[in-house]
Symmetry: C2
Subunit: 330 residues, 2 copies
Amino acid sequence: MNYSGPTVFELGEIAALKLAVAKFVPVDTTLVGSGDDAAVIQVTDGRFVVTTDSMVENHDFRHELSSGFDLGFKAVASNVADVAAMGAKPIAIVVAMVIPGDTKQSWLEDFARGLQAACTQLAPECAIVGGDLASGSETVIVVTAHGHLAGKNPILRSGAKAGDILAVAGTLGRAACGLDLLLHEDSTLADSYPEHVEVQLRPTPPVLAGIAAADSATAMLDLSDGLSLDATRLAMASGVSLNLTGQRLFGFEAVLELAAQSLSSKSDRTYSERDWVLHGGEDHSLLATFPADQIPVGFRVIGEVLEAGSYPLMLDGVELPAKGWDSISS
Amino acid sequence: MNYSGPTVFELGEIAALKLAVAKFVPVDTTLVGSGDDAAVIQVTDGRFVVTTDSMVENHDFRHELSSGFDLGFKAVASNVADVAAMGAKPIAIVVAMVIPGDTKQSWLEDFARGLQAACTQLAPECAIVGGDLASGSETVIVVTAHGHLAGKNPILRSGAKAGDILAVAGTLGRAACGLDLLLHEDSTLADSYPEHVEVQLRPTPPVLAGIAAADSATAMLDLSDGLSLDATRLAMASGVSLNLTGQRLFGFEAVLELAAQSLSSKSDRTYSERDWVLHGGEDHSLLATFPADQIPVGFRVIGEVLEAGSYPLMLDGVELPAKGWDSISS
């Protein structure tokens, strides 16, 4: 992506930050915002939820595929998804950035616009309340997100019970399909399926569905590493087995079928919509379990919770081994 | 520093983290700790304080000068200092790390021991409640620290009033002196003044003094970039002038005099204890203003607060220009 104008280095950290921070919209829960040693945040009860996540250049993203806006948006989206996966409402975010000295100020401002756009679109009661800017040889983005529970219990991974229903809010496999499209040498492929590429570059986790699920979910987590790996984590934390219903996944696969055919026809390998749905990461959808009669709006049933058996995860009763992504070893 | 054994890469992220996290001591305010999408933290009133700060290899530290333990200790120390500078008590920390693939597991565990040691020594009611581990080409450490205010008002930079007294808790100039000792080619110099080197490698901010200052301080901040720069920030935020009393700084200078002489005698340049005291960063001491009759234990008077004049900062009535460190342009 091309960015013009002065570098952050030429402007200096403080001037650069002032211009970038000017794009942030304040919210009522920010009692003291950026500019002091720390921010002060109001919560509705005596508890807050906190999660942190990093994105590293050439490991988690490439500047030639993602704009500054995309990266800001995705950094917020992936973290508010973790807050929502606890059944909490995102209220405050701090951002620590490491950027190379030749980073353009216009990139930083585009990044800041992406941060704010994700807050506005996904979690309108959430604000960027502080941050840190440092220089290094590669771009690193670390977002720490906070939420409040409004008096409700947090939804952990460990509460699923045999007899519950397994359901998902959000997309499955689209981010992985989008990545395969972006990485293919024929760039017209990505242009043909913008709806999948978009989920990879700017995922839109179902934050409101997560908050609403706090009323009835017995367990919930953010699908960042793929359905098979994250479902296995939920099963093992809860001491249950999960059984996916193949037919319930057809709808998720159907929207990816054409992209898989197009990619396969232009490659030596075969792309499979089922592989994306079962194993693709980065959709940042929410996987949750509910009592059978209490499935909230926004969630679609994809399976059932069984007593712990030989396998933590099955597809139509047959073992489904977890395939996924270890952020250190990939 | 030499570390042996398998790399984090060889063990895999989850196994590596399990071994490192085993060193962390739980505290009562952690309602849900690491292992879920987010942690849940208890606060004493409906507010929490949050700050984030990064340390980047070859910009903020060098592996040949700092052990993993040192870096873990310093990362926590510098962040709990920011929490204490609001008058808040540190309660919860999350740590995002980027490390090269060849990082030894023994380094990561030493780093984790340093994180815990700083909590235990500086802020015993604070716990490491979550984190993120990713790989990259250089080591980046991002700590986000949280505190609670126990019903008190946060102490901002902007509350100093003419007639107040200016005071400091903690050391001045020792971290900068320690860095000059470490960087000198004659390594026996660093060995001769371990008490200064220690403040550079493992600063011990006066966290308890900061919490106690919440009862009477009118303004407070963490001295991370040096007295002249941080005092100028406080003066400008408060709309006042600060006048340092040279004689009050003698005590801080006296302990550095021998090290300055030793360094000067073995160098082409002259080292000055006054320069370290006035402009040296990274002590992570606390600078605060108080009504004249309410200076708490742990703080030493170093000057006075005047109506805003021609200069934000003076030394014995003469302009003292800020000299310091811009983390992007250095």
